[in-house]
């Protein structure tokens, strides 16, 4: 018999470790044709960090996304970026890119201020134009600015890095301020559980994430959807089998390590919640791990809601569900 259940998972999650130093850096150069070479150590493993770095550089410099050429994660040339882990790259490498761009803008601002005869602090760089905040008729295009830079023999190069305020934790009890900002999320899911075969059908998932300012909303949605699929696998499919004697993984192939297929993944409604930005670039926070985490308790709770059995170990396999249902039936019969 199929039984329906619903579950909710909520979480808050720290981004930007402050317990230990946690830096990343970026190099940038704006060239005469207004194209930009941006170099970051940040490894894009498919989550789209290079896209986000280019967007942050374009926004900071007042250029277009298309102008930015990103060289990333090449240890021969790119600066330290730290690990792509801990939901940190948008936050930390993103801030490094912003700082590198601000560094490169020193010469750009000096030159524009001279040409437009306005104070540097009044200058706005936006959409390939440079103008005075107080008098928008005082303006020049980026190519004009780069022409002036060439005339003066000035180069727009910058380096920057970002390290969250390292507070360190109390070595005695690890107390302190462990993260610079926090991401918040809630995931709700609906499942059908077949009490006879133990099959779990995850039907619908709504997953809402506070990401501060979303730098790229489509990619944030993609990360949420990916996290939901991973969370489903975490609860219902994925199990690393280890040989008790040798410690070798017994199922290191995808025919034996089961992840959800397209057919298993539910209807997903990602909700991107914007909030007051904190220390992140333009107020952005991380979403890499938050996308996954609340799905896990949400599915587990939905299974419990459906059949009235609580599971304290993951994954929950069909055989575990059948065993729990049988045990519950026996318990109720004994009453």
């Amino acid at each position: 018999m199929k039984k329906r259940g619903r579950g909710v998972g909520c979480m808050w999650y720290g981004v930007g470790n402050t317990g230990l130093p946690n830096p990343a850096a970026a190099f940038v150069e704006v060239l005469g044709d207004t194209s930009v070479n941006l170099m970051v150590g940040c490894a894009d493993i498919g989550q789209g960090s290079s896209t986000v770095m280019a967007q942050i550089a374009a926004e900071t410099l007042g250029l277009s996304y298309e102008n930015i050429h990103v060289t990333w994660a090449d240890t021969a040339v790119t600066p330290e970026g730290g690990a792509t882990s801990a939901s940190r790259q948008t936050f930390i490498s993103g801030n490094a890119v912003k700082n590198a761009c601000l560094d490169a803008m020193g010469e750009l601002k000096r030159t524009a201020a001279e040409k437009l005869e306005v104070p540097e602090e009044d200058l706005i760089f936006r959409d390939r134009m440079i103008y005075s905040a107080k008098d928008e008729s005082k303006k020049m295009t980026y190519p004009e600015l780069m022409g002036a830079m060439k005339y003066y023999g000035r180069l727009a190069v910058g380096a920057g890095y970002y390290n969250p305020k390292t507070t360190y934790l109390n070595p005695a009890d690890m107390s302190g301020v462990p993260y610079e900002v926090y991401s918040y999320a809630t995931t709700i899911c609906e499942v059908d559980v077949d009490t006879e075969t133990g099959e779990v059908d995850v039907l619908k998932v709504v997953s809402a994430h506070d990401v501060g300012t979303p730098i790229n909303e489509t990619m944030v949605e993609g990360q949420i959807e990916g996290g939901v699929a991973m969370g489903e696998g975490f609860v219902l499919f994925e199990n690393i089998e280890v040989d008790g004697k040798t410690g070798a993984i017994k199922n290191p192939i995808f025919s034996k390590y089961i992840i959800p297929s397209n057919m298993d993944v539910p209807e997903i409604y990602p909700v991107v919640v914007s909030s007051e930005g904190d220390a992140g670039p333009f107020g952005a926070k991380g979403v890499g791990e938050p996308a996954l985490i609340p799905m896990i308790p949400a599915v587990t709770a939905a299974v419990e809601d459906a059949i009235g059995c609580r599971f304290t170990h993951l994954p929950i396999f069909p055989k575990d569900i059948v065993a729990a249902v049988k045990a519950k039936e026996a318990e109720e019969a004994a009453k």
Binding site: D194, T195, E196, T197, G198, E199, F237, S255, I258, P260, S261, N262, M263, D264, P318, K319, V322, A323, K326
Partner: protein, 296 residues
């Protein structure tokens, strides 16, 4: 170093000639979805590999003389896409539509599936449910046998009755009539790209009064070959079909699975319980298909 010689005949007689010539050590490749893996893993080290993929004459689905005849080289995808199979022979349609992945379904053939005779072969369970027969040809001629006898046969590699110079050319079964319904349910670890945990097959015929005139209840992955729930079949045969009647057989299935799999305590608990869930779904499916005859 050359590990084997490779032949790609273009006609059945040519293939049979090669099989006879190299009967001491050969392997037949049709879709290759099983045998190529076995060759790569050196589970088989034949001197000669014969690729029969060019024998287009063995790719067909024919409805004739009250029989459904399927050429051995017909792919799972082709069977799943045939509207006549989908309408009348749901058990085969579903088994072929859900086996493996799209790539496996495009390459894998029904003849290969039956010849490999995997414990988890969905095509095997479906064809046994349909009480199919297979046609085997060699240079000496042709022989026809029931699939269940084929599976229990002791041929050259002990998998089935196939001799080393024989080629399976066709599988056929009686075309299910309007009073017959068939269904397949694949219980697996996920909804696609999965090997069956149980592949349940059911075929049921009723007369105008709704009395069961023929029944087949088979469970793949529960034994070396699709398990026949004989006591359950006997319980239902000759009685007026209803969900209650069918559900009375569930404890019999439970007991049979438990009996036959006692040596696998880690899997028997789940299988003896879930087999009932699988057949409960099949019962509902069959009754819905026979709606005209038996009522809701």
């Amino acid at each position: 170093m050359r590990e084997f010689d490779f032949y790609s005949p273009t006609s059945v007689p040519e293939a049979l000639e090669l099989l006879r010539k190299y009967k001491d050590s050969n392997a037949i490749v049709a879709g290759g979805t099983d045998i190529v893996i076995e060759l790569n893993e050196r589970k088989h080290t034949p001197k000669v590999v014969i690729d029969i993929k060019r024998l287009k004459e063995l790719e067909y689905i024919r409805f004739e003389d009250g029989l459904v005849k399927i050429g051995a080289l017909t792919s799972h995808a082709a069977i799943a896409a045939d509207p006549r199979i989908a309408e009348r022979t749901r058990v085969l349609h579903t088994a072929c539509a859900e086996v493996g992945s799209p790539q496996i379904r495009n390459l894998g053939t029904i003849g290969g599936n039956l010849s490999t005779a995997s414990v988890a072969g969905d095509g095997v369970a479906a064809m046994v449910t349909l009480d199919a027969s297979v046609v085997l040809r060699s240079k000496d001629g042709e022989r026809t046998m029931k699939l269940v006898d084929f599976l229990n046969g002791e041929g050259y590699d002990k998998r089935n009755a196939l001799q080393s110079d024989e080629l399976m050319t066709e599988v056929f079964f009686t075309e299910p009539d309007a009073h017959t319904a068939t269904a397949f349910y694949k219980l697996a670890k996920r909804k696609s790209l999965a090997i069956s945990v149980i592949g349940g097959g059911m075929r049921c015929s009723v007369d105008d009064a709704g009395v069961v005139t023929a029944i087949s209840l088979r469970g793949g992955c529960l034994g070396r070959y699709p398990l026949q729930f004989k006591a359950a079949e006997e319980h239902v045969l000759g009685k007026k079909l209803s969900l209650e009647l069918l559900r009375e057989t569930l404890p019999m299935m439970h007991d049979l699975v438990l009996d036959l799999n006692r040596n696998r305590p880690w899997s028997v608990f789940y299988k003896k319980e879930s087999v009932q869930g699988v057949f409960n779904k099949l019962f509902v499916d069959i009754l819905a298909q026979l709606n005209m005859e038996v009522g809701a």
